[in-house]
Every structure is written in structure tokens, then in C-alpha cells.
């Protein structure tokens, strides 16, 4: 997978939200939701993006699709720089990159039928002739595991899992190359979650999709991803192939995240690293290494100097002054 073709390259991507106050709406600060993130996604892989809520992973996904405009940096998709693409040309590119949203209750227009929802993108890009539209929508419905009889129904008649299937049908209708799943499983029941996960896996094979899988749930990410990217306060702290990440994480934050995943074996012993306090405000991120306020092994240099993302082993990147100082074995 490492040697595959690069489908998406993100270079030093930044998204700052201005914080305004006062009569003249003066900018009094910036919320640095995404602060200089760089990575690549290879064709055919699944890159899992993990991190606590508020670390900027959703903003990252939306910025890549340019649903929010980036503050700085570059987004290169399939060899084309789409960072400053004018709206008309951006719309053409949208066919190739789709998103599955977190909340299946807010992501479907309550006043549109299932058919209208799924065929909307197909109509915009004129992928399927009008005469074949119904057939195509029925095929998509069955592909995501829903009955073709649902075509005339409205979203409120479905359960959360079914709605997420409709949402997936809408996303794959255009045969995109990249699908960004933003917490696509988080609002579902555990049993439904594994079904949808399986569906995503099948669709990936069938339509040769590439996933950017954003989630706070390491257990889910572990099941589907080839590589894992960990974000903390708008920065990438670690990026590694899955096996290596789970066997030998190098960043103390990654270690803490992995150790927090419950092991379904009561006999198993593992040291748990419990992080103190909350994620600091992205409005005033800590100096130096952003994690130093919660790091169990923080030194003086951590508070002064910001570590850069470095390739420690082949394909294993980490941003830490003392990589490997905390291990899973304790």
C-alpha cells in the first residue's frame, strides 16, 4: 500500500476560525482547528484519523472537501491542486470525493423522498440518463441493503442505521474515488455499527474506493484502517501503519488512547495511562509540544520547543522529542 499512487496530498493545511468580539467585530483571537497538517492518502487504502473531540478531525475532513475554505496550505487531489479551484470547476471535482456524515438524522433532507435524495448527485453530474434513473436508484438501495420498495419513502420513516445506509447510497451513487467518513458510525448502536462497517468494507472492494475514516473510536478504526493518523489540538502527532501503531506506538498520546480501549478479556493485564485534565483550548494552545500539559513524561524542552513530525522508522511518523518514552507495557 505504501508504494501505491497518491490520491490525496494535504500540505501544511490550516483552518483558523476567527473569534470576534465588540461593536466592530474585531478579531480577538483565532481558533486553530487545523494547524499545519500534512499527510498523503494512497489509492485504495483506508486512512483512519483519530483524536479526542475538538481536536479538529471533522474540520480537517470538511476542509479537504472545501466545504469550509482552508486558511492556508495546499490540497492536491488526483494530481490536481484544488485549494483555489473556482466554484464551477470545484463542482466537477466533487463527483470524485464524497462524504458520509455523522448524524443520519440531520444529513437527509426531511422533505425529500429517498429517490430524490439518492438521485440528486446523479442529476447534477448527468451520470445516468433520466430514463434509467429509477432503476439505478433501486440498484443502489439494494446494494446498501435496503428494499427497493423504500424508494418513495421519507427519511423520518427509517431507523438510524437505515438512514446511514441511505446516506452511504447517496455518497457512492457518483462512484467517487475518495470517501470521507466523518464519524459515520458514532451515532449508531453497536450491533448496527458492525453491519455498516461490513457494508463499507464490501463497497470499498466493489467500487475500489479510498477511505479517509474519521472517528474517535480506536476499536472501529482498527478494524477498517490500513494506516492510522492521530491528531491532537489541530496537529498530527503520529502517523503509522496499523500493525506498527497498535504494537509499538511512539507518541505518549497514542499510547494513552490505545490503553483506554477496553480489552474484552478480564484476565488481560495492561497498564492504563489516564490523562489528567481536558484538552486545552485550541484558542490558546500550550507552548512547545501541545501535549506537554498532559504528558506523563514531559521535560523542560517539551514546553519550549515544538517537535516536528519526523519519520522514525519507514512509514512511521511521530512528533515527539522523546518518541517511545511511554510504552504500552508501562
Amino acid at each position: 500500500m505504501r508504494n501505491g499512487e497518491v490520491l490525496l496530498r494535504v500540505e501544511n493545511l490550516k483552518k483558523y476560525f476567527p473569534l470576534r468580539a465588540g461593536v466592530f467585530k474585531k478579531v480577538v483571537g483565532w481558533v486553530k482547528a487545523v494547524d499545519g497538517v500534512s499527510f498523503e492518502v494512497f489509492t485504495g487504502e483506508t486512512l483512519g484519523v483519530v483524536g479526542e473531540s475538538g481536536c479538529g478531525k471533522s474540520t480537517l475532513g470538511m476542509t479537504i472537501l472545501r466545504l469550509v475554505e482552508p486558511t492556508d496550505g495546499r490540497i492536491v487531489f488526483a494530481g490536481q491542486d484544488i485549494t483555489n479551484l473556482p466554484p464551477a470547476r470545484l463542482r466537477l471535482i466533487r463527483k470524485d470525493m464524497q462524504m458520509i456524515f455523522q448524524d443520519p438524522f440531520s444529513s437527509l433532507n426531511p422533505r425529500m423522498t429517498v429517490q430524490a435524495i439518492i438521485e440528486e448527485g446523479l442529476k447534477v453530474h448527468r451520470v445516468v440518463p433520466q430514463s434509467k434513473m429509477r432503476e439505478e436508484v433501486e440498484m443502489l438501495l439494494e446494494r446498501v441493503g435496503l428494499s427497493r420498495d423504500y424508494i418513495r419513502r421519507f427519511p423520518h420513516e427509517f431507523s438510524g442505521g437505515q438512514r446511514q445506509r441511505i446516506s452511504i447510497a447517496r455518497a457512492i451513487a457518483l462512484r467517487p474515488r475518495l470517501v470521507i467518513a466523518d464519524e459515520a458510525l458514532s451515532s449508531l448502536d453497536v450491533s448496527v455499527r458492525s453491519q455498516i462497517l461490513e457494508l463499507l468494507r464490501e463497497l470499498k472492494k466493489e467500487y475500489s474506493l479510498t477511505y479517509l475514516f474519521i472517528s474517535h473510536d480506536l476499536a472501529v478504526v482498527r478494524q477498517i484502517s490500513h494506516r492510522i493518523l492521530v491528531m491532537y489540538l489541530g496537529k498530527v502527532v503520529e502517523l503509522a501503519p496499523k500493525e506498527r501503531f497498535f504494537s509499538r506506538p511512539l507518541h505518549p498520546y497514542s499510547v494513552a488512547l490505545i490503553s483506554a480501549v477496553p480489552i474484552p478479556d478480564p484476565e488481560a493485564r495492561r497498564s492504563r495511562i489516564v490523562l489528567k485534565g481536558d484538552v486545552p483550548s485550541p484558542l490558546q494552545p500550550p507552548s512547545g509540544c501541545r501535549f506537554h500539559t498532559r504528558c506523563p513524561k514531559a521535560q523542560r524542552v517539551c514546553a519550549e520547543l515544538e517537535p516536528s513530525l519526523q519519520e522514525i522508522e519507514s512509514g512511521h511518523f511521530v512528533a515527539c522529542h522523546f518518541p517511545g518514552c511511554v510504552t504500552l507495557e508501562g
Binding site: R91, L92, R94, F101, S107, E120, G121, V124
Partner: protein, 293 residues
């Protein structure tokens, strides 16, 4: 959608005030439709002008020939019946025009936001800051009198309310993920507003429009009462009340001597406004998503 509408209608008709509003409104519609039968106009004349029925300037009380009495030499019954058409015309045209303008301005402001929102909303504020009746009076004196001028004045000073309302609703709907989803499908902004945002934001505006329909008729009547609206002899409730201006205080020792001059056109107006308000209330209840069943 159809099922949704059917459910809403069922809720509408299980509501006493809703039924009352619909019945009242139905009554006015029937009167307006059958005006030529209820009060036959003299052939060859514009039916919207009340024919002169007497040479005496004094009002005449209700009689067999003139069931609502006579005011300003004209039959009040004829005026009330044909005035229903005038009321509907003013109400519907002004409401349609002001709602359309308001929807346009409010959608632009709400959806595109930022500097456009700022500019449009400040303009809206300026229009709202001007006292409505005074502004309408000034505008009609500038434009000249006449019903069409009154309607223009009413539109110019009432589009802000739907604009404000739709903007607020759009700001809320805009944050829904299905709008982002449509964007990521490559749907154009115009279509997003039309298909995704407006249908989910428009109901409160329609309900407000129904309520405004009634109050606009009162305002138009007020302008007519002041002599700024309908021309002499035009079948309009406000114009009928205008005839009553000099007789309102009654005769010596008989305060309510000329009651019919006010009671019939005034009563029609009150019932008309009431009908729209009841309907608006019932619609709000029927379309409230928290009351779905």
C-alpha cells in the same frame, strides 16, 4: 410531502379555531364570488363603484330596500359585498408581493451571510424603524391616491417582516448536514436554497403571511378612511367608514343613531381579520413539528 400535508390538514380540521377560521374565510370567499348575484350592479357601470341611490346627503337607516342602510348617498350592503373583493385583492396581492420580496432578500442574507447579510439587514432595520402608517401615508401622497398606490405603499413597508423571519430560519437550516451533503454533491447554491433550505424554512413565513393578510386589510382601510386610498365611491370597507366620519358621534341625544354606518363595514373587517388570524394560528399548530402524530 403529500402524506405530510395530509396529516397537517387532518390536524388543522381537528382544531376548533382552525375550522372556525376556514368557515369564516369560506363565507367571505362565497360572498366575493357571488357579489354580482348578491348585489347586482347596474349594467354598463364599473361594478366596483357603488351606485348613488339617493340625493340626500344624510345617512338612511336600514330598510327593506337598503338592508344595511345608506351612507354618502350609497348603499352600504352593496359596498360591503363588493368591498369583500377589494379586501381579498389588497390582502392577497400585497401579501404575495411582500412575501416574495421578503423571501428573496431574507434568503440572500441568510444563506450567503457575511457582508451581504450585514447590508441587507441594516436596510431592513431602516425600513422597520419608520412608523408604518406615517410612511404609508407619505408614500401615497407622493404617488397620488388610488388603491394601486396604497398597495405599493403597503408592499414597500411590509416586506421586512418575512425577510427577517426567513433569514432567521435559514441561518438555522443552513447548519444542517443535508445542506453540506448537497454542497459536497456539487449542487449549485441556487438549487440548494430552492430545494434544501427554503422548503425547510418556509412554513413559519407562510403562517405569518396568513396573519398579515388580515392586518394589511385593516391598514389599507385606515388609509382609505383617511381619504388616501380608494377613490370616491369605490366599494371598499375603509371608504364606507370614511362616509361615517362626520356622523360617528351620533345625533343630539342619540349617540348610536347612525350605528349602521360603522357596524356593517366595521363588522365585515373584524370578521375578515379574525378569519385570517384563526387560520394562521391553526396552521401554526398543524405544522409544528413537535406536534407530529
Amino acid at each position: 410531502m403529500q402524506e405530510e400535508t395530509r396529516k397537517a390538514l387532518r390536524r388543522l380540521f381537528s382544531n376548533v379555531s382552525g375550522v372556525l377560521g376556514v368557515v369564516l374565510l369560506g363565507f367571505f370567499v362565497v360572498v366575493a364570488l357571488f357579489a354580482p348575484l348578491l348585489a347586482p350592479p347596474k349594467s354598463g357601470r364599473d361594478p366596483y363603484f357603488m351606485p348613488v341611490v339617493t340625493w340626500s346627503a344624510d345617512p338612511l337607516p336600514p330598510s327593506r330596500e337598503h338592508p344595511f342602510g345608506v351612507a354618502g348617498k350609497r348603499d352600504i350592503f352593496y359596498g360591503v359585498v363588493w368591498g369583500t373583493r377589494t379586501a381579498f385583492r389588497i390582502g392577497i396581492l400585497v401579501t404575495l408581493a411582500s412575501t416574495a420580496i421578503g423571501l428573496f432578500v431574507g434568503s440572500l442574507a441568510g444563506y450567503f451571510g457575511k457582508i451581504l447579510d450585514e447590508i441587507l439587514m441594516r436596510v431592513t432595520d431602516i425600513f422597520m424603524a419608520i412608523p408604518f402608517l406615517v410612511a404609508a401615508m407619505v408614500l401615497t401622497t407622493v404617488l397620488g391616491t388610488g388603491l394601486d398606490k396604497v398597495m405599493i405603499a403597503l408592499v414597500v413597508f411590509s416586506w421586512m417582516y418575512p425577510a427577517r423571519l426567513i433569514r432567521g430560519n435559514i441561518l438555522q437550516v443552513k447548519e444542517e448536514q443535508f445542506v453540506l451533503a448537497a454542497k459536497s454533491l456539487g449542487v449549485s447554491d441556487f438549487v440548494i436554497i430552492l430545494r434544501h433550505v427554503l422548503p425547510n424554512a418556509i412554513f413559519p413565513v407562510l403562517i405569518q403571511a396568513s396573519m398579515r393578510m388580515g392586518s394589511l386589510v385593516i391598514t389599507a382601510a385606515a388609509l382609505s378612511f383617511l381619504g388616501l386610498g380608494a377613490p370616491q365611491g369605490y366599494a371598499d370597507w375603509g371608504a364606507l367608514l370614511n362616509y361615517a366620519r362626520n356622523w360617528m358621534l351620533g345625533g343630539y341625544g342619540a349617540t348610536f343613531k347612525y350605528w349602521y354606518m360603522i357596524a356593517f363595514p366595521g363588522g365585515a373587517m373584524v370578521l375578515f381579520v379574525l378569519a385570517w388570524n384563526l387560520l394562521g394560528d391553526a396552521l401554526r399548530d398543524a405544522f409544528d413539528p413537535r406536534l407530529r402524530w
